[in-house]
Symmetry: C2
């Protein structure tokens, strides 16, 4: 091991090779609730793709498993290193390299946070619209899990924003894919394959991202409904209306109580409405002109009333901001309330009512609270699961995943599989598809050094 | 061979196995101008994925190269079979299986044409927005090349519409990927990898496509400019305006003359303007309400005037439709005028002026007319190349591709590489990237039976 460390030191310098007590506790985990921390043996902080390439060649030569790490805010354990593993940390590769105003493009390093990118884009009245609710997350991490978030219903998920990237293969080759290009048909789209691969195929060292014009005005409507199913049923008509909401979320009564309490947020909802409302629909519209936005908000309110909303709150800017911040922190509210795990099954959006009904039955059968909110416009249901017993919870999760898949869904809409859900993924996915994924993994990573145990089993 | 035919006959029935004179001349080519026809030895017309699977198993056993064929409207020779090859034709797998109104999704078989899909979606006031200008093209063919077209500037290209697919691997396994899902993070996105792979990885037998709400009103503005570069420079400000054009095309003076003459279209442009205009910008806006659309059209006209348009024509519906039809047929106009090849280099959209300038220099140096139009909003330049000598034209094309790549572009934005541009692609692409593509090809198609010679070299 000490020769391994020496080799790394020659590449990145002693200051940027961490071992022993210099490795902070953070490097051992991400935010997956159910996973144990696993400290790496070594952390390196390279400053360029050339250094990343050298580091990967050394790791290959020493057969050391490698985990690339952004901000460590993932929820499925994909950033938890292997025992005796190496972590590549992108603290020193976290710059916005360029905001290209004419092409509406940002070129960034993987360690940049969404907050930093948003600041840089805003200066040119542009926006990077991915909004996974954790603005300290890194673009590299977002690419690894194909992060989505509240604005995906309008702007799409991470994969729709990535136009090009530079990546280092585990064997050290640096490749550049795509570019500042709106489209391409020039060979296999390897960039799209790397996105969502959770650090198992290549290490991304630069990304070219689509930016969108910033629309200056927003309006937020909160509509309580009598049942969760009524909320979910309201979604298709809202999307068919052409109002093109920026945000379209549902929040169940428990999650609403949890997030408003934890943020001490009073939305002026009467006790009577609170009692009758089992769930809320949160809709945000955006526009470039206030008159049109007001008109659209009126249309939206009329539509929601027709769809059964028991009341309607057009939230002023400050309340809207605070509610959104609270919604962003739903995960933390759930964690503070003692949630044992979180899941984010995705189903066809019209199947959300049925999925919520089935999930409630499963939860009741296991005597385990399963509470949530979610990206209603995308069919992406987020549950906080309360069940401390590992075996019971595992059986419960398996049923939740199976139920989603029976409705044509998948295990995760945006959190990824990681290490936390690998077992379910491998058990529930068609073996021919898994076998093909293994062959693809092999074609990128013949020695199996990149994030073994994430998504697929460790090599034997 | 006769035993091979017998085996196929047992799967699809004698009526649907064509040999000898029963094979129409069409099966030997697509619309690539520079390629020779190559009749296949056998054509099969399966009716289900189960039949496709059996056919592929037989082809693997007999080591016969297989080319999947939709409508045969491709422009790069990806549907030209190999000598003694087998063509799988999707004439009998060409149905719209479902329009799912609540999920805004269509489920279709690969042989369905865009015209048929559009009809089925329109009945529910939904639209499949990919509009490559050849509405008789099939969805399967569109997926193979990741087709784009005029509306991509607003709605994205084929890959952005495909939410899920069923595909048969060359070794016969049927896999289902994605679904009626707005997003997913559950393993490698193999559907995105298959899209744009030009029939070399798998045979798609069903697709789940995103539909969008149909906006009922359109307005079309044609703006002549003094130079092609002025037109190209007007594009970023139009996109930054937030007007979100449905169509944003440039047409050079020669192409404008060719398409208006071939369609006998009089747009009322004065001789004086025609003389001073070297290029035209064609912009279409769409909306759900006429008042807003009129207001937006006014804003657009003001903006275009500021950007240097020498005149402005807000085209009435019938003239707009006819001009768009003529623009769609630009390829046919070029073919009728004797064009020897067509290219569709994609560059960062802000680099279009520079690319047009460099291309004009190259064309002049080769004494070969290179005329065009293109998807200005996407940086996708379409040229008709007039140079009958194969060797000279080949050198000219290589320079055009190299020049585009030097500006950060790629050889093709939407036509694909196929057989026609394989040589340039392999010569000009980073060898590490090509090697990775070969390994991926191997992981799908270990015997190399799917479209050998397309994109990558034939196995040795």
């Amino acid at each position: 091991m000490s020769e391994f460390v020496t080799a790394l030191t020659e590449v990145v310098g002693a200051e940027h090779v961490l071992t022993g007590e210099r490795i902070s506790e953070d490097f051992g985990h991400d935010e997956a609730l159910s996973m144990l921390s696993e400290p790496p043996a070594v952390v390196v902080r390279p400053v360029s793709s050339a250094e990343v390439s050298e580091v990967l060649r050394i790791a290959t030569a020493w057969d050391v498993p490698v985990t690339a790490r952004g901000s460590g805010t993932g929820l499925s354990g994909a950033a938890i290193p292997e025992p005796a593993g190496l972590v590549i940390s992108f603290e020193r590769m976290s710059r916005v390299l360029e905001i290209d105003v004419d092409n509406h493009v940002a070129v960034v390093q993987p360690g940049v946070t969404l907050t930093e990118l948003d600041e840089a884009a805003s200066a040119h009245r542009l926006t990077y619209p991915v909004y996974p609710g954790e603005q300290s997350s890194s673009v590299g991490g977002n690419m690894a899990t194909n992060a989505g978030g509240m604005r995906a219903v309008r702007y799409g998920v991470t994969r729709h924003q990535v136009l090009g990237l530079e990546a280092v293969l585990p064997t050290g080759e640096v490749i550049r894919l795509g570019g500042k290009l709106a489209k391409a048909s020039s060979g296999y789209d390897l960039a799209q394959l790397i996105i969502g691969s959770e650090g198992t195929l290549a290490v991304v060292t630069e990304a070219t991202l689509r930016l969108s014009p910033q629309l200056p005005h927003q309006a937020t409507v909160l509509a309580p409904f009598r049942t969760v199913e009524e909320v979910a049923r309201a979604v298709p008509p809202v999307l068919a209306s052409g109002l093109a909401p920026l945000i379209l979320e549902y929040i169940d009564e428990f999650m609403m109580a949890a997030i408003t309490q934890s943020q001490q947020l009073d939305l002026g909802i009467s006790a009577e409405i609170k009692d009758s409302a089992k769930a809320y629909l949160l809709v945000m519209l955006e526009g470039s002109c206030t008159e049109r936005l007001e008109e659209d908000t009126g249309r939206l309110c009329t539509l929601l009333t027709e769809l059964g909303a028991v009341d309607m709150y057009v939230l002023p800017g400050s309340a809207a901001r605070r509610l959104l911040e609270a919604r962003e922190k739903a995960f933390w509210a759930a964690k503070a309330a003692g949630a044992d795990d979180s899941v984010d099954v995705v189903v066809p959006r019209a199947s959300v009512p049925e999925y919520l009904r089935i999930s409630a039955e499963i939860a009741q059968r296991y005597d385990s609270p399963v509470l949530g909110c979610g990206h209603a416009g995308d069919g992406n249901v987020h549950f906080a699961v309360f069940q401390p017993d590992d075996l019971v919870r595992s059986a419960l999760l398996r049923e939740l995943f199976e139920a989603g898949m029976k409705l044509g869904g998948l295990i995760s809409g945006e959190h990824g599989i990681g290490k936390a859900k690998r077992r379910y993924f491998l058990e529930l996915t068609d073996p021919n598809t898994v076998a093909l994924m293994r062959r693809i993994k092999q074609s990128f990573d013949p020695h199996g050094i990149l994030n073994p145990g994430v998504l697929l089993d460790r090599p034997e």
